[in-house]
């Protein structure tokens, strides 16, 4: 009974939060609601007994991904409401309904046809952190390693992109030097045709 109550409570909360994220015109509401929604999703993992995945959901999505979004939002005034440009609301509505129907269809079909079964069922003898480790390092070793290499590539690319002028510090420069550098930069941009 508790599981049913918890499921419907968190289902309603999750849908409510993500509805706010999509509908609101206030960037800060969207950010907060999305972070809260990510936490409420972890409740489903806890209900299913997947404690490890639930906690990882909180750490990765709420703790890291959403915090990075928030970091990006520092660059505009979050206390004002955003006015979105909607040129063709009917197309947006149509595409939205279509996408939602497709997702429901994709998720419902294996349940309806009765082909839903666990390929690697839970082994009651080991805890679920160990079970995830065993599956990752046996059945999914190659995708796991590929993901690790891709993250490494992304990290190196990020450092290369961000670290271009790291040896110069604008804070320590004299005003004239900054003016000189920015003048060179603008003339270069003009040559390359950057507007």
């Amino acid at each position: 009974m508790f599981e049913a109550i918890a499921f419907y409570l968190f289902a309603a909360l999750t849908i409510g939060m993500f509805t706010i994220t999509v509908m609101t015109s206030q960037a800060l509401y969207a950010l907060t609601a999305m972070a809260a929604g990510m936490i409420f999703i972890s409740a489903f993992f806890f209900i299913l007994g997947a404690d490890f995945l639930g906690v990882i959901q909180i750490i990765v999505y709420t703790g890291a991904v959403m915090a990075l979004y928030a970091f990006g939002m520092m660059f505009f005034d979050t206390t004002r409401t955003m006015v979105e440009k909607r040129e063709n609301p009917r197309v947006i509505f149509l595409l939205g309904v279509l996408a939602a129907t497709l997702v429901v269809f994709i998720l419902i079909s294996p349940i309806v046809s009765g082909h839903l079964e666990a390929r690697y069922p839970i082994d009651a003898a080991v805890g679920n952190s160990q079970a995830i480790g065993m599956i990752l390092f046996t059945k999914y070793l190659v995708p796991f390693e590929v993901a690790a290499v891709m993250l490494l590539v992304a990290m190196i690319a990020g450092i290369v992109l961000a670290g271009k002028k790291m040896d110069k510090s604008l804070t320590l420069m004299a005003e004239e030097e900054i003016a000189r550098i920015s003048a060179i930069q603008t003339s270069q941009d003009a040559k390359e045709g950057v507007h």
Binding site: D51, V55, I58, I59, G63, A70, F71, M74, T79
Partner: protein
């Protein structure tokens, strides 16, 4: 799920809430006294004997102050941000064993709200969410100092979470479990079995990161009084500001518990001596937070970032690799 279990859990939650709310208040008194003695002052002396009732006076002041909400703030977010700080701090307490289990009036009490098998990860996750208090409070405040503080808190938390995670990884590899009770039981054999002895590097790294996670003095730039006023708390007053305060002090207590349990043997074998030992270790870590505040200046944000990414993170990664290699070699022989 029977009635006794539900009642027991509710009682534990209420006890933890009350005890640690009171302790956070008392923590401010201790902090003021310790700082005062280290600076050759007397500290609070006027309210009650040795200023002991200062806490009550401060509490009454905070509770009865008018709750001012400035005009240009984003109201719902502004209102909820302090609650997030306090709530996540206390939610983290759910997986911390505060005391070994004991029998009182023929009833065995486990002084932990829920012994989930991913305890330490859960505590870390809750402390990670604690970031949203300063972040949302600062962004909703319509104040430049608050916004700066929000940006700093996001940067500091994200960076130092990497250090806490990597520092904890090495001990967790040795223990082979994420439950705080298992970690405690791993070190049951006495001081030579403590993880601080076998993993001194991880211990020091985690300790440094704990200062950043709680925003204490060498890394206090989230609300650094002399550059950004009170940071995210600038626009707050009364009990909303008080909730930020309670959250900060509760976090200090809880991270002290985590350090004592993970690295310094926790409550040991569960005797009274072990339990008192745990409280002594926690008090020492709490005192160390205050001691550092009296003894050290603050670092600049760029120094903090350089320390994190160029010094601490490489050390933490090397520590994990060395632990792995040593474990592999010793397992191979045995």
């Amino acid at each position: 799920m029977d009635g006794a279990f539900i009642i027991e859990t509710i009682v534990k939650i209420v006890v933890i809430l009350l005890v640690f709310s009171a302790l956070s208040g008392f923590g401010t008194y201790v902090e003021r006294k310790v700082l005062a003695f280290m600076q050759r002052r007397l500290g609070p002396m006027h309210v009650g004997p040795y200023g002991l009732l200062q806490v009550a006076a401060d509490g009454i002041k905070l509770f009865t102050k008018e709750d001012i909400i400035p005009q240009n703030v984003v109201k719902p977010i502004f209102k909820i941000a302090p609650v997030i700080t306090a709530a996540t701090a206390f939610m983290a307490a759910a997986a911390i064993p505060f005391w070994p289990q004991f029998t009182a009036f023929g009833y065995t009490v486990h002084p932990i709200v829920s012994d989930i098998n991913v305890g330490i990860l859960y505590v870390m996750a809750m402390m990670a969410i604690g970031l949203y208090g300063p972040l949302l409070g600062g962004m909703a405040s319509a104040n430049k100092w608050s916004l700066l503080s929000a940006a700093r808190s996001a940067a500091v938390f994200i960076s130092y979470e990497v250090i806490t995670g990597l520092a904890l990884l090495a001990p967790l590899m040795m223990v082979g479990s994420l439950s705080l009770i298992d970690i405690n039981n791993y070190q049951i054999g006495g001081i030579s079995h403590w993880i601080a002895v076998s993993q001194p590097v991880a211990f020091i790294l985690f300790w440094i990161a704990a200062f950043a996670e709680t925003g204490r003095t060498p890394f206090h730039l989230v609300a650094n009084d002399h550059e950004i006023i009170d940071g995210f708390g600038t626009e707050y007053s009364g009990m909303r500001w008080g909730l930020f305060f309670i959250g900060e002090y509760a976090n200090m207590f809880f991270i002290s518990f985590v350090m004592a349990i993970v690295f310094l043997g926790g409550y040991g074998d569960g005797t009274i001596a072990g339990a008192l030992g745990l409280l002594l270790k926690v008090s020492f870590f709490f005192f160390f937070f205050l001691w550092t505040r009296a003894a050290w200046p603050d670092v600049r944000p760029d120094q903090l970032m350089r320390l994190c990414w160029k010094v601490l993170m490489p050390i933490a990664v090397v520590n994990v690799v060395i632990t792995g290699v040593v474990m592999m070699l010793t397992r191979g022989n045995g």
